[in-house]
């Protein structure tokens, strides 16, 4: 069964907040749900499928369905970290294609800026029942030094430089200047990035994404419902997910799970990287973007450094505009999970609703990619290809 053409994204909403000290996570879920349903022209009573992930309080779909007042007949709470929300679009499209629901609501919300480590994160990292924990935490592995090892390996294997990685942040900052909600709106230079303090070699502070409160939501619907609404038609063409891990000690940092999810998504969509007009890539770090562009086939393995240089990712300047909202590097990274905002900006681009300064002309085919966990070890990858029809 293919999902190509079986579902449409009818609603998309990104919470404007970047810091919400006085709101609960559940409240943010409700606000983004309302925003996405309003955007679609649907009401909460129309929702018969609900999708959430590890950022949802309690048992996810149970607590949230009650809190939101949903009457869902299909729920899913797949947790593959930051890639979860791209997986959720895939799963929602599958459920719609199988007749399990017609209006699927997907929500994300979190407050890591107000509450630096959630109880769930603390429990995970100190739980010796998680089989990998006793072999990793004694060595003070952190998200940044784990991604640092990925970057270090790429530099060693392919000659990639810090200046090349910096171009990814530079491109994101060029886009963020036009986003009034972006946390960081200042345009930065390559020199600014490589001159910022090293957090974990070779990653500088400006190679890292922001930490923000907030959230986002999507509404995925059956074709007949999409056609009954007043919004532009954004069709799901293809999607796929993958999990890559350290494979019993056969560690290979040269590629990520996106090598698998990308290939499968392109096959389902029956398009190639050359057909894509805009990409959203979960930019947890600059190196993440570079690796994903290689794994998706936008450039040959090992050539990502050259590919991203000289503004090639800047809308109106380069060949492959990316993260035109400013991405996680400059704009927003709610719940420390970047997949949701990637889909939202892809939808804006396809509808022609991105900021005029960054809107890609004739944007009829877009790709959103997200990874979750960490590329040096266990991670999920999801790739989604969308078409404006």
């Amino acid at each position: 069964m293919t999902i190509n053409g079986k579902a449409y994204i009818a609603g998309a909403y990104e919470h404007p907040t970047r810091k919400a000290p006085d709101k609960t996570t559940a409240e943010l879920h409700a606000e983004v749900a309302r925003g996405a349903l309003d955007d679609a022209g649907l009401s909460v009573a129309d929702v018969d499928g609900f999708f959430c992930s590890g950022d949802s309080p309690g048992l996810g779909p149970l607590n949230m369905a009650e809190y939101l007042g949903l009457r869902a007949r299909h729920v899913d709470s797949t947790n593959t970290g930051g890639s979860s929300y791209i997986v959720a679009v895939d799963h929602a499209a599958q459920a719609i294609a199988a007749g399990k629901c017609k209006v699927a609501l997907i929500t994300l919300a979190g407050r890591p800026r107000s509450e630096p480590q959630s109880p769930a994160e603390i429990a995970y990292l100190s739980d010796p029942g998680v089989p990998d924990v006793p072999y990793e935490t004694p060595f003070r592995a952190t998200i940044v030094n784990l991604y640092g090892m990925v970057a270090q390996r790429h530099m060693h294997a392919f000659g990639t430089t810090s200046e090349q990685l910096a171009w990814i942040k530079v491109a994101a900052s060029h886009h963020a200047q036009h986003n009034p909600h972006a946390l960081l709106r200042e345009v930065v230079s390559v020199a600014d990035v490589v001159g910022s303090p090293i957090i974990a070699d070779p990653l500088h502070r400006l190679d890292c994404c922001v930490v923000t409160d907030g959230g986002g939501a999507l509404v995925v619907v059956a074709p007949e419902i999409a056609r009954s609404l007043k919004r532009p038609l954004v069709k799901v063409r293809g999607a796929a997910a993958a999990v890559k891990h350290s494979d019993g000690g056969k560690v290979d940092l040269a590629y990520s799970g996106t090598a698998w999810s990308g290939r499968a998504a392109f096959a389902e969509a029956a398009v190639t990287p050359r057909d894509i007009k805009y990409v959203s890539i979960y930019d947890s770090f600059t190196i993440t973007v570079l690796m994903q562009l290689e794994d998706l086939g936008f450039c040959e393995r090992g050539t990502g450094g050259r590919f991203v240089s000289d503004g090639n990712l800047i809308a109106g300047v380069g060949k492959l505009p990316f993260n035109t909202d400013g991405g996680g590097l400059c704009s927003n990274h709610p719940a420390n999970r970047g997949g949701m905002t990637k889909v939202i900006e892809a939808v804006r681009q396809l509808r022609g609703e991105a900021h005029p300064a960054v809107q890609v002309a004739n944007c009829d085919l877009a790709l959103a990619n997200g990874t979750g966990g960490y590329l040096a070890g266990r991670h999920g990858s999801a790739t989604l290809i969308l078409e404006r029809v």
Binding site: L125, S126, P128, G129, P131, D132, V133, P134, Y135, E136, T137, P138, F139, R140, A141, T142, V144, N145, L146, G148, M149, V150, A151, Q152, R153, H156, P197, I198, I199, A200, D201, P202, L203, S246, D247, G248, G249, K250, V251, L253, A376, G377
Partner: protein
């Protein structure tokens, strides 16, 4: 560090004091794996045994964390026997660490448990 609370299957690993670095080998397919499990992650046989590694390896990748009170190096070290493990590089000037360098195991106490870390093999 609270995280070093060995569960039953990890206990022999964390008792590997006195310079013993232990890996798991599958009795069915012969593959070595790390981190150690009661089953083989390659063929899923439930028949696995502990074997001692020689403690020699090379740095596959590393990163020096410079934020915080004292910089430290995390690394992936590929053992001569094959598996790559997550560890720290110690007893080595941090700015001289490089991918491909030969390293050997040293045990360091982390909250009362001896865990395997690696140092650069002195030249010559």
């Amino acid at each position: 560090m609270d995280a070093v609370r060995p569960e039953a299957q990890a206990a022999p690993y964390w008792r590997s004091t006195g310079g013993k670095l232990l890996l798991k080998r599958c009795k069915a397919c012969g593959e070595l794996h790390h981190y150690p499990r009661p089953h083989c992650p390659f063929c899923f046989s439930a028949e696995t045994e502990w074997v001692e590694a020689a403690g020699q390896g090379t740095i596959y990748s590393y990163s020096v964390t410079r934020r915080g009170a004292e910089p430290y190096a995390i690394a992936f070290v590929t053992l001569a026997e094959g598996p790559t493990l997550l560890t720290n590089i110690v007893d080595t000037p941090l700015d001289t660490i490089a991918i491909g360098q030969p390293v050997d195991v040293v045990f360091r106490d982390v909250d009362g448990v001896a865990v395997p870390m690696f140092r650069r093999v002195p030249p010559g």
